[in-house]
């Protein structure tokens, strides 16, 4: 038997549960307790497209070093689901630990020799303590959290404080939960020995907050001044609309009247959702929808209308595994091309790529300014990994001197003063025309918005020259967008290097870790995190400066790479695709392995890395 793993603040615990068994809140309690001890945690739900009965996992990476990407591998498995037992046991690292419910004896063949087995008769304990079947089930989860807290040497105070917080308002539940917690602790203390994995209080969390990207994006929409949300339920984006409703109720209820300063409509489908957003945007309200790939497929026609008729709209696309229904509860970054070039005809749409919930908030708010400024659809490209998992992230910030940028809108006063109004007239060269809100002025400013071709004064025309002038202006407008969307973030290697890596979105966490690992092995790469589309000059300069570049993304076809090649006229041979697309979040281990293998197979340090 290998030596049992001994690690402090650096290990992975995986809970294998049955969907619908109430394990989620107990597991989250475990993760948050560690954060309360000042130790960074990255927790991820791995769940099926199902409500009850199927396997679900919750993975907690405890990382004193602060790595928030998925690590891969399991050091301590909490195996509570007989359906996945074999798979769960197999996933444990040699020297790792298995914690399981030993009420029912298991044959020795069901275990492994190279791991340490920690059996606790959870069902028996709960059956003794409780008579109600639901209580037996729910408290079983808390009992194992109690046992783990003892095994990992965690502070009970942190867990107890969280329980009190969680059940605030339902105070009668606090004492029984704390009692169940101690039941688990006492049982572990009595029958088990401490293990090699430890949580030690630290100062690694700082002022960071812990929130899902979807909730952060919804809060961003509130701060961005969104008043209309039209949406259709689809995993993994549903919680954006739900969080928006929650935050609006709290932050956007008119104090004097109790009336809503917002309107949320659950539409009949994604087409109606984007239709409502289009109507509201046309009429001067900030409007958004939230969806995933299948929804974006359905919205294509309206996105083209928004592009051509120049109507502001914001779409939060929380990407999941495609194509078709694909893997609804797994993550991918595979909607880039459908979003960038959505709809028929020549179209292009700005996109924002948040890396974590902090950027989900800030880009969420920014998207509405951009939509009004550019009078077009803005995509905010989340994915399931950042959208539906809680992440430790920098606190949100807001500058109270900031005002909402409504873009180029002529008011009744402007029109009265005789401002020239041509709805599609570029008066200052940035490609962005002025618009008017319906009902603004009795005689001036009215026009018919249409998806048919139009001249500078919004009049229907099929005149070729007028058409070309219009669509060329749209290209100019798209160029203007480059200066408005967030610039890429560059991280230079400690040493000059001909190699670079380009990535975006939720790959960021794993990439930071991979770059440090590579650097510690003497492998140097400059890195560029792209934060939006269209690409700025910095992206192409970065490519020009390096001999070989890796484009790391979470889809099969290298969609970001395709966009870069297409938009920048880049030689495809220069961009090496590094692709992760099995539906799980990309890991540092994967990136390191792929990059090292691809870069220089004969370099000694790299072989070590690979090993």
């Amino acid at each position: 038997m290998p030596k049992p793993l001994t690690r402090t603040n650096d290990f992975v615990v995986r809970f294998a549960n049955v969907n619908g068994s109430g394990s989620a809140s107990a597991n989250a309690l475990f993760a948050k307790s560690i954060i309360r001890m000042g130790v960074p945690v990255a927790a991820r739900n791995i769940f099926p497209s199902n409500i009850q009965g199927l396997p679900t996992w919750y993975e907690v990476r405890v990382s004193g070093a602060g790595w928030l990407g998925r690590r891969g591998g399991v050091d301590l498995m909490v195996a509570m689901n007989p359906q996945t037992w074999d798979e769960d046991i197999a996933s444990i690292e040699p020297g790792g630990y298995l914690f399981y419910d030993s009420t029912k004896p298991m044959p020795a063949s069901k275990f492994r020799e190279d791991i340490r087995i920690l059996g606790m008769p959870l069902t028996a304990i709960c059956n003794r303590a409780y008579s109600d079947p639901r209580q037996r089930q729910l408290f079983k989860n808390i009992v194992y959290v109690g046992a783990l807290s003892w095994l990992l040497d965690m502070e009970t105070a942190a867990v107890e404080a969280l329980i009190a917080q969680q059940f605030k308002g339902k105070d009668a539940l606090i004492a029984p939960n704390i009692q169940a917690l101690h039941m688990g602790r006492d049982a572990a203390a009595e029958h088990m020995k401490p293990i090699g994995l430890k949580v030690q209080a630290a100062e690694g969390v700082g002022d960071r907050i812990y929130i899902e990207g979807n909730a952060a994006a919804a809060l961003g929409a509130v701060y961005g001044g969104a008043t209309v949300c039209a949406w259709y339920p689809i995993t993994p984006s549903t919680s954006v609309a739900e969080a928006f409703a929650r935050y609006c109720k709290k932050l956007r209820t008119e104090p004097e009247t109790g009336k809503a300063l917002y309107a949320i409509v659950q539409a009949e489908d994604e087409i109606a959702s984007i239709g409502m957003v289009t109507g509201a945007g046309w009429n001067g309200a900030r409007a958004f929808t939230c969806t995933s790939g299948p929804g974006v497929s359905l919205m294509q026609e309206f996105i083209g209308l928004s592009y051509f008729a120049e109507i502001p709209a914001v779409i939060f696309d929380v990407q999941r595994g495609g194509p078709s229904t694909g893997m609804p509860t797994r993550t991918q970054q595979a909607d880039l091309l459908i979003a960038a070039y959505a709809s028929h005809g020549d179209t292009k749409h700005p996109m924002l790529f948040p890396e974590d919930p902090n950027e989900c908030f800030h880009f969420g708010a920014l998207a509405f300014d951009l939509a009004d400024r550019l009078q077009t659809t803005i995509f905010v490209m989340l994915d399931l990994d950042i959208g539906m998992n809680e992440w430790l992230t920098a606190p949100f910030e807001w500058d109270d001197t900031r005002t909402l940028d409504r873009g180029k809108v002529l008011s009744a006063e402007d029109l009265e003063a005789g401002a020239e109004f041509g709805r599609y007239l570029d008066v200052d060269g940035d490609g962005i025309p002025y618009r008017t809100y319906p009902g603004v002025h009795p005689e001036r400013g009215a026009y018919v918005t249409r998806g048919t071709s139009h001249d500078q004064y919004a009049r229907y025309t099929e005149n070729g020259a007028a058409y070309v002038e219009n669509v060329d202006r749209l290209t100019r407008k798209f160029d203007t967008a480059k200066a408005l969307i967030p610039a890429p973030v560059r991280r230079n290697a400690r040493r000059a290097t001909p190699n670079g890596v380009i990535y975006f979105g939720s790959t960021s966490a794993a990439m930071q870790e991979a770059l440090q690992t590579l650097e510690s092995k003497g492998v140097h790469l400059d890195a560029l995190r792209i934060r939006g589309f269209p690409f700025q000059d910095e992206v192409f300069d970065f490519i020009a400066e390096h001999e070989q570049l890796f484009v790391v993304e979470q889809n099969r076809d290298g969609q970001l790479r395709t966009l870069i090649v297409n938009e920048g006229g880049i030689d495809p041979a220069k961009l090496v695709p590094v692709l992760h697309y099995d539906g799980t979040p990309i890991t540092a281990r994967f990136i390191v392995g792929e990059l090292a293998a691809s870069m220089a197979r004969d370099m000694q340090p790299l072989r070590e890395v690979l090993r």
Partner: protein
């Protein structure tokens, strides 16, 4: 084909309404539809209705989908913002526009292809959501722009211009609107402006989702013998259940009728629908019996027209959502952005 502006010259003696506008102020560009198209009569009806109601033209938003009917918003209310959106999706665009600014009057213009086929779902859902709007379907039973295919409102057995009989069951939009809870439902005929204009006026003043199915013969593709949407056929089978006068709040109601022959319905805005009964026992305040009546008369081959149902007390989507009285598109930063202090409190709750 390009946009045709209409000359602004008009006779100096044209009568004006309470706002000082004359009828021409409610016109739009010159129609590019076929000469004699029923849709142009509906446009004329809309112009007349808005003029008579003294509506400020710029406070009306006119929205449409795609098709001949959906082109018409360019031909009326030239001082109103218009939105010729995408096929079958006018209802969602109108719903969103209405959410953004509850103070404008929303006029949705659609056709039978737009609302009974590709947009059947959106038609249904906008009605059941009680969007405050006037939803006019210019119903000719045929696809005009693509030259004569049957639409979903073509009656079973009705013949195409080429002599082919339609084998599919027709969708009766009025029945569907009734079933889905429209609070004002009417059917009219583009060839009967005396019936159409008061109905348009009543719908425009109605608070809630008002739906009007206007049979509007297509002179190019559906006005031949054998068609059940031709001028001749509709005239021969038109059975009006009532005739309507809309009395605005400012006008005096004159009792020029025999008791029991007229029903007065007071709307939310104070206007009164004076409905003179033509069909005995027809009660436009009874949704269920209206649906039954429609089915019975339809089976007898009649085209039932008039105000078929009205609920003057119906609420609308804004009421259901409990939105503020200020249009959402006029809320300023102070009302919309909670600020740094609120954000700091949220941050604190997430630690």
């Amino acid at each position: 084909m390009t946009f045709l502006a209409k000359p602004k010259l008009h006779h100096p003696g044209l009568p004006t309404n309470a706002l000082g506008f004359n009828r021409r102020d409610y016109e739009g560009a010159i129609s590019t539809l076929c000469a004699g198209c029923g849709h142009d009569s509906i446009s004329a009806g809309i112009i007349q209705a808005c003029f008579e109601l003294d509506l400020p033209p710029h406070r009306i938003a006119k929205l449409s989908g795609i098709g001949c009917s959906s082109k018409t918003p360019a031909y009326f209310l030239g001082s109103s913002h218009g939105f010729n959106s995408v096929h079958g999706r006018m209802p969602s665009v109108l719903t969103g526009a209405n959410l953004a600014n509850r103070d404008l009057i929303y006029l949705g213009v659609s056709g039978d292809g737009d609302s009974a086929s590709i947009g059947f779902g959106q038609f249904a859902h906008s009605i059941r959501r009680s969007v405050n709007m006037t939803y006019v379907v210019e119903n000719n039973g045929v696809y005009g722009l693509t030259k004569g295919q049957f639409s979903a409102t073509s009656d079973k057995g009705s013949k195409s211009k080429k002599g082919v009989a339609n084998t599919d069951q027709a969708i009766d939009l009025v029945s569907v609107a009734l079933q889905l809870g429209a609070s004002f439902v009417a059917r009219s005929f583009s060839g009967d402006k005396h019936q159409l204009i008061p109905i348009l006026k009543a719908a425009l003043t109605h608070q809630g989702s008002a739906f009007i199915d206007v049979i509007s013969p297509c002179v190019a593709f559906n006005n031949h013998p054998g068609s059940t949407k031709s001028f001749d056929y509709v005239r021969a089978h038109n059975e009006a259940v009532n005739s309507l006068d809309l009395i605005l709040e400012r006008d005096e109601i004159v009792a020029d009728y025999q008791p029991g022959t007229v029903e007065l319905v007071t709307q939310h805005d104070g206007s009164v629908l004076k409905l003179r009964k033509l069909a005995e026992h027809y009660d436009p305040s009874d949704r269920l019996s209206a649906m039954t009546y429609l089915q019975q008369r339809q089976a007898a081959g009649e085209i039932v027209t008039g105000v078929l149902y009205v609920d003057p007390e119906a609420g609308d989507l804004h009421e259901h959502l409990d939105t503020t009285a200020t249009p959402l598109n006029q809320l300023g930063d102070a009302a919309l952005v909670p600020g740094a202090a609120a954000l700091a409190a949220i941050n604190a709750s997430l630690r």
